[in-house]
């Protein structure tokens, strides 16, 4: 169960970390879902054209980047309402991908293309003698191993670099930035582009794991990634813990169906019940001890 929970966690974490940059820069990126979807589609097409998993992931990353730039251009540069722009991008992705898929490959449904390689597992068969540790560390798909460096990198950039400091200042007090001659919009743009890359990469992991693209493959994970930002107190390690908790709840609901005599439909609501409970706890804790989160 732990093994699968970590597989489930990886895309949530990448999208959540990306969204964290945007959130800290003062822009709530509610288009993560659409960016994941675009990333998934682009990843399968690119992987099919090149025969390379890495190229597929790069294709997914660029698709997310493209939509993120559109978000920046309309929402920040043209000063449109951020929520409307985010919703529009989600709708744009959901509507445009079937059109492109139909025009390019003749199907709006399941897109199974030739030459898409299988996502390789790393450290398969390695054993330490501790089964739990083995499940956590070894045999995961290639993309999962990107997530740990991503958390460390996000923490380092946000806390230890001038760029991270200015980005956080953009969210908290953009006037300070302007006072020292810096343009907050540049940091908002950078943050949005990072969030687009994270969501696009997350989408590519989802699709490349399956080897196909299918409509709604992101299945609401972009929205859950958004929740992990708040549950994680807007810190990279917090996002990691929140994504892991959600993935574990998902893993429990999947595994319990085979063991417990409880209707599967009821067990499947467990991650969402957990999310609601966690949000209530988060809200209560913020009231008790207000912080910068």
């Amino acid at each position: 169960m732990i093994y699968y929970a970590i597989e489930v966690m990886a895309p949530l974490l990448l999208a959540g970390l990306g969204g964290l940059f945007a959130e800290l820069a003062g822009v709530l990126n509610i288009a993560l879902e659409g960016m994941m979807l675009a990333g998934a589609f682009a990843a399968i097409v690119t992987a099919s054209l090149t025969g390379s998993i890495l190229a597929g992931m790069l294709g997914g990353l660029l698709a997310g980047l493209l939509l993120a730039y559109l978000f920046y251009f309309v929402g920040i540069r043209m000063r449109a309402n951020i929520f409307i722009v985010g919703l529009a991008i989600n709708l744009l992705a959901a509507g445009t991908i079937p059109f492109l898929s139909s025009a390019m490959f003749g199907t709006k449904g399941v897109l199974r293309l030739p030459n898409v390689p299988r996502m390789p597992g790393l450290f398969v068969g390695v054993e330490t003698g501790f089964p739990l540790l083995d499940q956590i560390l070894f045999g995961h798909s290639f993309g999962v191993y990107l997530t740990v460096p991503a958390v460390l990198l996000a923490g380092f950039v946000l806390r230890r670099t001038a760029f991270g400091l200015r980005l956080r200042s953009t969210g908290k007090n953009p006037e300070t930035l302007r006072a020292v001659g810096l343009n907050p919009d540049r940091y908002r743009r950078a943050a949005l582009l990072i969030s687009g890359m994270g969501a696009g990469l997350a989408g590519s992991l989802l699709a490349l794991r399956l080897g196909v693209y299918l409509p709604n493959v992101s299945a609401g994970r972009g929205w859950i990634a958004l929740v992990t930002i708040y549950l994680g107190y807007k810190r990279p390690v917090g996002v990691l813990i929140a994504a892991l908790c959600f993935a574990l709840a998902e893993g429990v609901s999947v595994a319990a169906q085979g063991v417990l005599q409880i209707p599967g439909t009821l067990l499947l609501s467990l991650p969402y019940i957990l999310t609601v409970v966690a949000m209530i706890v988060y809200s209560a804790m913020r009231r008790v001890a207000p912080s910068d989160a």
């Binding site: 794991r209 299918l214 709604n216 299945a219 998902e250 893993g251 169906q257 599967g264």
Partner: protein, 353 residues
Amino acid sequence: MVRTRIRRTQISLLYGALIVLLSTLLLGCAPAEDAAIDRPYSVAVFVPGVVEGSPTYEMLVEGVRRAVDESGNATVRIVEGGFNQAEWAGGITSLAATGSYDLIVSSNPSLPEIVNEVSQSFPEQHFLVLDGYWEGNPRLRTVMFNQREQAYLNGYFAGLVTTGGMPDSNDALRIGLLAGQEYPMMNQVIRPAFLEGAQAVNTDIELDFRVLGNWFDAGRAADLANSMLDRGVDVILSIAGGGNQGVIATARDRNAYVLWFDSSGFHHGPGVVIGSSLVKLDQAAYERTLEAIEGSLEFGVGEVLGVADGYVRFDDQDPNYIEYVPEDVRARHADLMQRLMDEPMEFAIPGAN
């Protein structure tokens, strides 16, 4: 002189009016069939979803189109109703309200009830609903497929696989069924009949039943399939829409097998998808629509079609089936088909009116 000219004109007008009146009367007295021949029979297909990517609805549209083309005096319009079930009644009502269609055709287990409601407001409108069951509405004809037989065919094949019929079968006597969602037909017919079929091979076989919660989350479907395989399942019947792709991906990675439902699924994963039960929805749509166009379709009837009628099949002609499934397994399954042809299974339709 002038008066004579006026009188001639009046007489000409009188003759003209008489000719028009006689022509109208003569045309009006023409036989009813002749009038019907002049106006093409009009069919609307209401698709509760979208056609592309759905084998069921592709079969529906293909069958109706074939009937319309063959009749030579009918037209068809396809209307996609989208995935929001709450909007289907509105879609059907809109079509009926136009009064332009002699027959509205659709396919979905939930539609007979909706259509029955709509038809109360449009008593002249005729409906044909496939994959659903309703009796007693004089304007509604339904065609249901014997899904007990269909699930039994899959179950028997799964039983043959898990008892060692395939190279990668394991020692555990456990088969899997993944459903997109729980609904009466799944819980009361498909699930028990699938296990019943498997236990006809070996009574010790157990069923691991899981629910995806929707019809599209292939990622979660992959996780559910992994969890089933961890517990000793080696063959999974997947009835989970887009989620089926997740089951295939997992089965491919872990050398397990997948069974398909309603349409031929071998091309989705040659060597992984090793069995497909079929319903001949296209054939039923074609035949019943043609009967409606010809005026011989009986309404008010709920029809159930099964293996003996030739509408529920197991795809034993696909090259992948012949290539990947050992001959003795195919032979034993062919024997079962023959038995069902000779002795059809009783089918209690959940919630039948």
